[in-house]
């Protein structure tokens, strides 16, 4: 009896041990099989936050179609550029083009050029809060620059009045709101102001963060929108996608052709169309203040940064295939996610750019 009672727990223990073993074994098998699927093909990228939503959609759809996995970390354009220079990712993404110096550094360190491939477009809208004025304020570049420089301080300024004869503009101080965090949105906005105002260009300049002469800073689109919503008499800028989703009043901007254009996906695409006529070869181009009757002037590309020559042949093939897919099918997802699609002319330019990608110096066989 004693013996039996003594052995029973042992039996039970060995039983449990056996079960544990089985569990571990099956876990192990699952891990192996899942790591085998992971071992397929995986491309890693990092960069801009603005296109994150559509890139996620693209990578997801593309994985469903081909099984190729893209990983993307939205760490910011700055991080994307740094990582592609250091070679820690397969591709980068940025809302502002790389500078000549950065391209030179990358060529030195990685031994290959970096291509800029525009993927979708975004626009920046000028949003305001003026009770009793309503929608559709008209503004032009030089007035906007002077407001953000602190030169125009009141809403009933002569120059604003001249553009809005039908509006009853109040005798109110203008409160300027801007982004406090570095962002591609700020880059596009300050790039536009630099193009339309010499004073802005010399005094402030263009960049993802700048030294603002006046105003309050809010963190992110939601921060700026919050400042505008709460402060009567305020003006600021937010991404088009954000403004559309949140029903914020925004101004129509006077473009180069002299028309006041409301920011819409169509007018943004029109801006790229207008700019595509004299596009530089490397596609590193700002399309703010673009030509064209219907172009909205404060818009810009977001780019994928790709090595011209990729060492890994299978990765290179996958990358090229994906980029071509993004130019065709990918574009159809844009408007539903509040991005403006690329116009046909630009897609053509991008495709010819994608065609020059090589692997180990050899052309890529797409079949």
């Amino acid at each position: 009896m004693l013996n039996k009672t003594k052995t029973r727990p042992h039996l039970a223990e060995s039983c449990i041990a056996g079960k544990i073993k089985k569990v571990f074994l099956s876990l192990f098998l699952v891990m192996i099989s899942s790591s085998m699927t992971f071992a397929q093909l995986q491309l890693n990228g990092a960069g801009a936050t603005f296109p994150y939503v559509i890139y996620m959609k693209w990578f997801d759809e593309y994985k469903k179609e081909t099984g190729i996995q893209f990983n993307y970390q939205s760490i910011g354009s700055g991080g994307g550029i740094r990582q592609i220079i250091e070679g820690t990712v397969d591709f980068g993404a940025s809302d502002g083009p790389m500078s000549d110096q950065q391209l030179k550094e990358a060529l030195q360190k990685r031994g290959t050029e970096i291509l800029h491939i525009p993927t979708v477009m975004g626009a920046v809208v000028v949003s305001y809060n003026l009770p009793g004025v309503g929608k559709g304020l008209n503004l032009d570049g030089s007035v906007l620059a002077d407001i953000f420089l602190g030169k125009i301080t009141k809403w009933n300024d002569k120059r604003i009045k001249a553009m809005n004869p039908n509006k009853n503009l109040p005798d109110r101080y203008i409160v300027v709101a801007h982004r406090s965090d570095g962002s591609g949105t700020t880059y596009i906005f300050t790039d536009y102001l630099s193009k339309v105002s010499k004073t802005w260009e010399t005094k402030v300049g263009r960049g993802t963060s700048v030294s603002w002469p006046v105003g309050l800073g809010g963190k992110g689109n939601e921060g700026v929108a919050g400042l505008i919503k709460q402060t009567e008499g305020s003006i600021g800028y937010v991404e088009l996608a954000y403004a559309v989703q949140n029903n914020i009043f925004y101004a129509s901007m006077k473009n180069r052709a002299g028309n006041f254009i409301e920011p819409t996906f169509n007018s943004v695409t029109a801006a790229a169309e207008g700019a595509s006529k004299n596009m530089p070869k490397d596609l590193r181009v700002s399309i703010t203040n673009a030509e064209g009757k219907n172009s909205y002037p404060i818009s810009g590309f977001t780019w994928l940064l790709i090595y011209k020559d990729m060492k890994d042949a299978s990765k290179a093939t996958a990358m090229v295939k994906f980029l071509n897919w993004a130019m065709e099918k990918g574009q159809s997802f844009a408007t539903s996610l509040y991005y403006a699609p690329l116009p046909k002319e630009v897609v053509k330019l991008c495709k010819s750019k994608i065609a020059v990608i090589t692997s180990g110096g050899k052309k890529i066989n797409l079949k």
């Binding site: 354009s77 409160v175 309050l216």
Partner: protein, 319 residues
């Protein structure tokens, strides 16, 4: 050398004096304690190393120049350091007497049925994530400041330079008040614990000698001085390092202004705001130097607090 060691450990005498478990445990805990020390040194070194480029370029000018311009790549942190120190010190000035009051009430005169739930609530406040304070700041505090506080102050106190300018709501005043609300529960819950740890006999002795309730509380407060000071420094530390809530209400503008109505900036907010999109090396280096300055200020404040507590304790023991 090593052999001697092994022999020492293996010899029977050694284990007579040292239990092997104790020995191992002692060494292990010592190792972990040293790791903390090393970690701090390493952090300091890494930040120094990362900011070397900016230190070489700007030198001491980084601390006294008041221009922060990422486009021209001129970085001077004075307005940011100013904003950090002013916002946290003023927050402390407002929060300290209030939290002392809360703590004294909770530990000395609150009836038990009120004390328990109130202490619990205070501790709960200390645990709320700062982004929630920030949202509350944007939607409740800022409109209140803009519509009521700032017009009132500028109407009645506009002879002082601190209360002039346009009432935006967002700005230094909002940051001070939100920091004040955030550090109040921390200070008061620690001070309450400190007061509770003062022996009951002290109070009884004072009362027995004919002291009034207020006089006995004063004696308890005197006894708890080092602890109160420690709690204050912890609160100040939290205020200096606070990022999210402050950046949501302070207006984020790197300018020095006497007026509390104007927007300002703090070091932690600048780093959080600008680091992700900083592209040039000098820019990143300057942001890291800003982190280094923040680190040094925090260490200095903590050291100062230790020193004060230590000297107070010594004085107290002498008496």
């Amino acid at each position: 050398m090593r052999r001697k060691w092994v022999i020492r450990i293996l010899s029977k005498n050694f284990f007579k004096n040292h239990n092997p478990g104790d020995f191992l445990f002692e060494r292990l805990t010592m190792f972990f304690a040293l790791v903390v020390f090393l970690l701090i040194l390493l952090m300091g070194y890494e930040m120094y190393d990362g900011s070397r480029m900016s230190i070489d370029k700007f030198g001491w000018n980084f601390l006294v120049n008041s221009e922060w311009d990422p486009v021209q790549e001129i970085f001077g942190a004075l307005p940011i350091i100013y904003g950090t120190l002013v916002s946290s010190i003023l927050a402390l000035v407002i929060a300290l007497p209030l939290s002392l009051g809360v703590a004294v009430f909770l530990s000395e005169s609150a009836p038990p049925w009120l004390e328990k739930p109130l202490s619990y609530l205070v501790e709960l406040l200390a645990g709320i994530p700062s982004v929630i304070y920030g949202l509350w700041g944007i939607f409740v505090l800022v409109p209140w400041i803009r519509n009521d506080v700032e017009p009132f102050l500028s109407q009645h106190l506009d002879f002082l330079p601190f209360f002039r300018g346009a009432p935006y709501g967002f700005g230094m005043l909002a940051a001070i008040l939100i920091l004040c609300v955030m550090i109040l529960p921390i200070i008061s819950s620690i001070v309450r614990d400190v007061l509770k740890s003062v022996p009951q006999s002290q109070r009884e002795a004072a009362l027995a000698l004919g002291a009034t309730k207020w006089e006995s509380i004063k004696i308890v407060l005197l006894e708890a001085k080092p602890g109160i000071l420690g709690a204050t420094m912890l609160g100040l530390g939290r205020a200096i390092g606070e990022t999210m809530a402050v950046t949501m209400v302070i207006g984020n503008t790197a300018k020095i202004s006497l007026s509390l109505f104007d927007p300002s900036y703090t070091m932690a907010s600048v780093i959080a705001n600008e680091f992700t999109e900083a592209t040039s090396d000098l820019y990143i280096s300057s942001l890291i130097e800003l982190a280094l300055v923040l680190f040094v200020i925090t260490v200095a404040i903590n050291a100062l607090a230790r020193l004060l507590v230590w000297s107070l304790e010594r004085k107290w023991k002498k008496n």
